[in-house]
């Protein structure tokens, strides 16, 4: 596809993408009469559902060779139809009548944080390594060539085996590039600033869906959950002011921001949305809400490789918490949970199909999850110091002579994060207090949220344990905190439920 749009058209394209995705999600959600929600929650949920559906069905289309312009055109029609459906059933009116009981001060805080994060995302064109090269480059491929199987991506292997095309992380999911390409397609041209429109609202939507997910417990619980989530600095930036007030000059620059075209915040927002919807689906119970919950988590799998791992943990947490099988909850709640699981599995299939055809050069963790590799590092295997930059150039012989045990590094890094108040506030200490509270263990919903958080942390610890790269270098690049960011939604829900309900009943109603 040729670029036709000038700056103003590309702006219009970006501006159009947001309401279209919002409409697309609005009609898919259950009626606001069945699952009550306020306007704010509805907007957050609808937008996340629209993004997830576009990512999942866009990936499905690409996996089966449908050119991107056709995917985009069908999406526009689908979004309009979906929006019409939501309007016809009177969702807006129902949402308007549903109270949130947030005080003006809290509304102001949430509005400033949400709208400010969107404004800062769009304040500059894409301006970080990963968003430019891992994601936007693939967005350009989709926009210009219509398919990820174009030589621009597939040609890295090179027909001759020696020379080929350049692309970083060729087997990364295409959710973010699809959303960027959608905005570019609507505007008729690629613009590094305006293609970010569909990526500007993750931080704004996350507290809204946490509120939604907890509303059935009490409005006070929902308010606490939303505020806990919105106040987590990592939702916007990590290690801010770590170097003192001199860091103010770098606000919004550098690679410490979570906002914009990175893949981590989308996973966090979609996982939070999936958790919120499933909590409400089980409480109502509502099959449609459960299926959309599954699709939201599947949407996370289409955003970044870790999203697939998180989808697996989500499914396992449901299984092991008893939310699917144990008789302690209502039968209908258990039944709708199976729908969520089914939608999740169906939702990640397109990406798994497409992924199998993409070249892999550096991000293939599945091949590293071998029992002997895990046993090696758990048994005290040394850090891969030979991959350290200094060692590679013949420096730091002391590191080579006396490498640390990796199993000691991994928990140390997670431990540092739990008490890194600059990035997390008190979120993680509060989560660990809540995890040990009897109320969390007794309630099946809290139990699966707890298992999701613990399982997520353990899985990421395992990933770091087997990583084929030099771990301290990954640490410098913001890992594991970028992984822990994915869990902010369920973590905030656990904290809020513990805070508001010290003697939590086992019922889900």
């Amino acid at each position: 596809m040729r670029s036709r749009g000038g700056p103003s058209l590309t702006l219009i394209g970006g501006l159009l993408a947001v309401p279209l995705l919002l409409l697309g999600g609005a009609g898919v959600l259950p009626s606001a009469k069945v699952i009550p929600r306020g306007l704010w929650e509805n907007a957050g949920l609808a937008w996340l559902a629209g993004c997830a559906l576009f990512a999942v069905f866009g990936t499905l289309g690409l996996a089966f060779g449908v050119p991107f312009p056709i995917i985009a055109a069908v999406a526009v029609a689908g979004c309009l139809f979906s929006g019409w459906k939501a309007w016809k059933r009177g969702d807006l009116e129902d949402c308007r009548r549903t109270p949130t009981l947030l005080g003006r001060g809290w509304v102001l805080l949430l509005a400033i944080l949400g709208l400010g994060s969107a404004a800062l995302t769009l304040a500059l064109p894409i301006n970080a390594f990963d968003p430019l090269l891992h994601f936007a480059y693939k967005g350009k491929i989709l926009f210009h060539h219509g398919s990820p199987t174009d030589q621009a991506l597939m040609g890295i292997a090179g027909d001759s085996g020696l020379f080929g095309r350049m692309v970083t992380h060729p087997n990364y999911p295409l959710g973010v590039p699809l959303l960027e390409a959608f905005a570019a397609w609507l505007g008729g041209g690629w613009n590094d600033r305006w293609v970010q429109f569909p990526l500007a609202f993750w931080a704004a939507a996350l507290p809204a869906v946490v509120f939604f997910g907890l509303r059935h417990l009490s409005l006070a619980t929902a308010k606490v959950g939303a505020l806990v989530a919105a106040s987590v600095p990592m939702l916007y930036v990590r290690d801010f002011l770590a170097e003192g007030t001199g860091g103010l000059a770098m606000a919004g620059l550098g690679n410490t921001s979570s906002l914009g075209g990175w893949g981590d915040l989308p996973i966090a927002a979609l996982l939070a949305g999936g958790c919120g919807l499933l909590l409400r689906a089980r409480a109502t119970p509502c099959k449609r809400a459960a299926m959309v919950a599954g699709l939201l988590v599947a949407g996370g799998a289409c955003m970044k490789n870790e999203g697939l791992a998180m989808a697996g943990v989500f499914a396992l947490a449901l299984l092991f918490s008893g939310a699917l099988l144990l008789a302690e909850g209502e039968a209908k709640s258990r039944r709708v949970t199976w729908f969520a699981l089914a939608a999740l599995l169906v939702g990640v299939l397109p990406w798994l199909i497409l992924r199998s055809s993409l070249p892999s050069i550096d991000e293939n963790y599945l091949s590293h999850f071998q029992p002997d590799r895990i046993a090696h590092f758990l048994g005290g295997g040394a850090e891969l110091v030979e991959k350290a930059p200094k060692v590679m150039v013949g420096q730091a012989p002391e590191l080579l002579a006396n490498p640390p045990e990796r199993r000691m590094l991994v928990p140390g890094y997670f431990g540092e994060e739990i008490f890194d108040f600059r990035s997390w506030g008190l979120l993680w200490p509060l989560v660990f207090i809540a995890l040990f509270a009897p109320s969390t263990r007794k309630d099946p919903n809290q139990r699966w949220l707890a298992l999701l958080v613990i399982g997520g942390l353990l899985l990421y610890a395992l990933i770091l344990l087997v990583t084929p790269w030099y771990l301290p270098l990954l640490r410098d690049k913001g890992i594991p905190e970028r992984l822990m960011l994915h869990l902010v939604g369920p973590a905030s829900m656990i904290v809020a439920a513990w805070w508001a309900r010290p003697s939590f009943p086992s019922s889900t109603t």
Partner: protein, 345 residues
């Protein structure tokens, strides 16, 4: 009271947690104000001022000059700017003072100039250096000019005149402040010794070169990227091919062993080490193809003859252009040349 106690103590950590929302509020406010100050454009000026380590820079320069035919004692270098910053002051710790003294002690003939603090600098520099109120006069017969303070007057200098006055061609930019395209256009070597805090994709010379290639190479055409010889650095910043690949899309850019070059930083280092170990450029020779398309430094072109593998790749990949480069952590227009494949012998 006991019944409500648990609920009450929970408010305390929650309240503390909510106080941390001040951090994102500050981040968003400062981020928006900072970008607004630059008209919401991504540019190097958004980032902190590039700096240099005077002792390290002096040592590097002296070592590299020692390897040249011109004896150190005969080398004349004009140092422009002595103040810490424009409108700043001078003291014994000022980077430019330390640098000028270190070079002078090594035997280099140093001529200094500063529009505001020349008199104040005299007691600090003593008689080791020569003082020039007129910066252009300091250039007469000099082998290089070094920018240590980015005074506005220095940034507006006419480099054609600089080139005409100097005996040498080295423009040593310790503040990454000079317009590299203008310096190169005058046939001078723009050598940046500042440590830039801005990311590589904002490098002005990279962007100028990308514009140049876009104006020459059609969107449907292919470009084979070829290093001119040994890769001189392992610095990740030298992965300019990744940024050109993004900026020049949808033009097709090809590279040798791209899976390594585009992998993690560790894989990229392996790619560099592999290239230098295998020496694929061995047996090639330097070529002169007339005037250079963008660079004004005609005698430092990276063009070389192609290896049989590269020639074969040109044909099999249907590439129309060859993009040569000298591998450097600083993007210098001098190091890059894009030539039509048909023009190569």
């Amino acid at each position: 009271m006991p019944a409500s106690w648990p609920g009450s103590w929970r408010k305390f950590p929650l309240g503390i947690h909510l106080l941390f929302s001040a951090l994102p509020l500050m981040f968003l406010a400062w981020g928006l104000l900072g970008t607004a100050g630059e008209g919401f454009h991504r540019s190097p000026t958004l980032y902190p001022r590039p700096f240099f380590d005077p002792e390290e820079t002096a040592q590097y320069l002296v070592d590299s000059w020692k390897a040249r035919p011109l004896p150190l004692k005969e080398r004349i270098v004009a140092v422009w700017g002595l103040a810490d910053a424009p409108e700043g002051g001078v003291d014994p710790e000022s980077p430019s003072i330390v640098l000028a003294l270190a070079l002078a002690r090594a035997g280099v003939q140093i001529r200094v100039s500063d529009p505001g603090f020349l008199e104040e600098a005299k007691p600090l520099l003593g008689e080791r250096v020569a003082f020039f109120p007129d910066p252009m006069a300091a250039l007469e017969g000099a082998h290089g000019v070094l920018l240590a303070t980015e005074w506005p007057a220095y940034l507006e200098v006419d480099f054609a005149e600089v080139a005409s006055r100097m005996a040498g061609r080295e423009v040593l930019d310790c503040r990454a402040a000079w317009d590299g395209e203008a310096v190169d256009g005058a046939g001078l070597f723009h050598l940046v010794y500042a440590k830039p805090s801005y990311p590589p994709w904002l490098d002005p010379e990279l962007l100028a070169f990308a514009r140049h290639v876009k104006s020459k190479v059609g969107e449907e055409e292919g470009i084979l990227m070829v290093p001119d010889g040994r890769l001189g650095t392992l610095s990740g910043r030298a992965r300019w091919f990744l940024h050109l690949n993004y900026l020049l899309f949808p033009r097709r850019l090809y590279l040798r062993k791209p899976a390594l070059a585009c992998g993690t930083s560790g894989q990229y280092r392996e790619w560099v080490l592999d290239w230098n170990r295998e020496r694929p450029w061995k047996g090639t020779r330097r070529l002169r193809l007339g005037d250079r398309a963008l660079s004004g430094v005609v005698d430092a072109s990276p063009i070389r003859s192609l290896t049989p593998d590269e020639t074969k790749a040109l044909a099999t990949l249907n590439a129309d252009w060859v993009l040569y480069w000298t591998h450097n952590s600083d993007f210098r227009i001098t190091d890059w040349e894009c030539v039509p494949a048909g023009a190569l012998p």
